[in-house]
């Protein structure tokens, strides 16, 4: 259970409604369903404006329990002489000034009665009024848990805390000298990997032996072929893979194009609904499942290009090279094709580097940029910061001019993976200059299972417990210094408060809190 109190200023029509606005913000954090939120807003605003119009001052007191919201709006004012009459539609005692603004229709209390599940009014003439209403709401359904392919090499960590601040979902902590990843928040992007100087954060399989081919097919993203300096173009990279013994090199660029066309067709088949999100980057799909559940319906129902490319190889001896944990995650998932091995990019790149130039020089053919520009309505966004901004804009209904949003977690798409040696901008440019001729006819593959919301930021599966914890976190956050220094190992004071309440850390982890005086209440 959590409680809150908002002040209401009688007579201040300008500020009228601010208490209801604050209440709305709080209820959104708890995740109240939209129908109940709407009913709450009607009731709260009517009750608040009654105080503003008729009384001297008042308070809105809120008690949030398990599936039940109790709101009490108490004022000191003239009171209601005849409550039964006040409940009749059309009866009003509002002054002309309020009527000019659209109030005083005599519908306020009846409106609350219609919108709430219970209404109780007590009033004493000359003293004041207490309007109490109850809203029942449904707890949200708990989502599934995430899956993380990120790996921590404890010995290498220097506790620089860069990863802690780099994470967009505040999923990284450094505690007892060791980085931890909160799996329910991690979406397998590469931001912490990129931020980590000593390479303590990485992906599985980076120190495996370089692969040796025996005629099998190797599936690679275009970025892998342009990691070998100015003298070696994409065709030299492919030649190096052949020199390592692979029989066929499948570059996923064809499947990327096929996906883009399929997503554009899909968007055209549902006009008027705003942009469709391309599932091109598995990390962004994870992010949406964790943090942007309201956008799940916008994700086009296809698998990522690398999954589509691998799908046609079932039963064949094949190897897929993953350039990030998210890609590794989707390839290793139960729906990944049996028989297709998945390896991390770094050992492959090392092995290729030793073979570059052996197979003679490849021909440089200019490629249409990857990801190519299939349509002007495709808004391509790359880099976690920009992706988060774009998804937030989309959630707020601000990207209506795009038909398709194509988000990539790494800057410059997969070329920007921090697990590849070459800088993203350079690699991409080199691919555009030399990557022609790899556009195998790919195809888009429909996804069988629906996208599902994950547990993500929910504090507890039990809504009542979640609400109680929200209150505790709020109180504790206010006691912390608010410097967001990260020295406790959490990125912000609020994140530490959450850790304390959820039993992941002690309050004494905050060094200011132990060295400074308790702030006055």
């Amino acid at each position: 259970m959590t409680t809150a109190m908002y002040r209401i200023h009688g007579g201040d029509l300008e500020r009228g409604g601010s208490a209801s606005g604050e209440l709305k913000q709080m209820l959104k954090k708890v995740g109240m369903d939209t129908a109940a939120l709407r009913r709450t807003m009607i009731s709260a605003y009517e009750a608040e404006m009654n105080v503003v119009i008729h009384a001297h001052h008042g308070e809105m007191r809120v008690v949030l329990g398990d599936g039940v919201l109790e709101v009490e709006v108490v004022d000191e004012g003239p009171g209601i002489p005849d409550i039964a009459r006040a409940m009749i539609e059309g009866y009003s005692t509002a002054p002309p000034a309020a009527r000019e603004l659209g109030f005083g229709a005599g519908l306020g209390l009846p409106n609350i009665k219609k919108s709430s599940d219970a209404l109780n009014i007590q009033s004493t003439v000359g003293k004041g009024t207490c309007v109490h209403f109850t809203i029942r709401f449904a707890p949200q359904v708990a989502g599934v848990h995430g899956r993380v392919s990120l790996r921590v090499v404890v010995e290498l960590c220097r506790q620089c805390l860069r990863c802690v601040h780099a994470c967009a979902t505040a999923a990284v902590r450094v505690r007892d000298g060791v980085p931890h990843v909160l799996e329910h928040l991690c979406f397998d992007c590469c931001e912490c990997i990129a931020a980590c100087g000593p390479r303590a954060l990485t992906m599985d399989g980076v120190d495996a032996d370089g692969p040796r081919g025996a005629g099998e097919v190797v599936v690679v993203p275009p970025a892998l072929l342009v990691q070998f300096g100015p003298a070696a173009g994409a065709h030299d990279g492919a030649a190096a893979l052949a020199a390592l013994g692979f029989g066929e090199v499948r570059v996923t660029v064809g499947w990327e194009r096929a996906l883009r066309e399929a997503v554009c067709d899909y968007a055209r088949s549902k006009p008027g609904n705003g942009p469709v999100i391309s599932p091109v980057c598995p990390a962004v799909v994870n992010l949406i499942e964790i943090r942007f559940a309201s956008l799940l319906g916008r994700l086009a129902p296809f698998v990522s290009p690398v999954e589509a490319a691998v799908r046609g190889l079932a039963g064949r001896d094949a190897l897929a090279v993953a350039v990030c944990p998210a890609m590794q995650g989707v390839l290793a998932a139960p729906r990944g094709r049996p028989g297709v091995r998945v390896v991390a990019a770094p050992p492959v790149v090392s092995a290729m580097a030793r073979r570059v130039g052996e197979g003679g020089e490849g021909d440089a053919i200019a490629a249409e940029g990857t990801p190519g520009s299939a349509s002007a309505g495709v808004l391509r966004v790359s880099g976690v910061r920009h992706v988060v901004a774009a998804l937030e804009a989309l959630e707020n209904g601000q990207l209506g001019d795009a038909e398709v949003l194509e988000p990539w977690a790494c800057e410059h798409g997969c070329f920007g993976s921090p697990l590849l040696p070459q800088d993203g901008a350079v690699a991409r440019w080199r691919w555009e200059r030399t990557g022609g001729g790899f556009e195998a006819p790919g195809e888009a593959v429909r996804r069988e299972e629906p996208f599902q919301p994950r547990r993500g930021m929910r504090l507890d599966d039990d809504m009542a417990a979640a609400i109680a914890k929200l209150g505790e976190i709020d109180r504790l956050t206010r006691r912390l210094p608010g410097r967001d220094c990260g020295l406790c190992g959490a990125p912000t004071c609020q994140a530490l408060a959450e850790d304390v309440v959820l039993g992941r850390a002690a309050e004494t982890a905050c060094m200011y809190r132990t060295t400074e005086q308790e702030p006055a209440k």
Binding site: R38, G397, L399
Partner: protein, 117 residues
């Protein structure tokens, strides 16, 4: 139809075109009673009203109303438009009165409904 498309079709001006709205309007509340607006409002409702006030913008924000159409060419104070923009509410001003404005909007929405079926 989006609020901007409606504005164009009925000859209204959008006072804060920088506010990006993609809501698809499928309902209209026309009138000057706040309580009625509250009980009819939805995230796809256009409110047509004479009330060019802060209170209206606040109510629109609370109820997620995407756009408001004011009447008789009367523009609200700039700070009211600014407040609406902060909440992400589009403010339209029709040069006509309530009857004419609603008639035109009704015709547009009916046309769209027929075309969609």
């Amino acid at each position: 139809m989006t609020p901007c498309e409606i504005a164009e079709a009925i000859g209204a001006r959008v006072l804060n075109p920088e506010v990006p709205i993609q809501a698809c309007i499928d309902a209209v509340y026309a009138g000057d009673r706040m309580s009625d607006l509250l009980s009819h409002a939805s995230p796809t409702t256009l409110a047509v009203t004479n009330l060019a006030s802060h209170q209206l913008m606040r109510a629109a924000a609370l109820m997620d109303v995407p756009a408001i159409c004011l009447l008789h060419g009367v523009e609200p104070a700039p700070e009211v438009v600014a407040a609406a923009g902060e909440h992400g509410t589009a403010v339209l001003v029709s040069p006509l009165g309530m009857f004419e404005t609603c008639g035109r909007i009704y015709a547009q929405l009916s046309r769209e409904r027929q075309a969609g079926k």
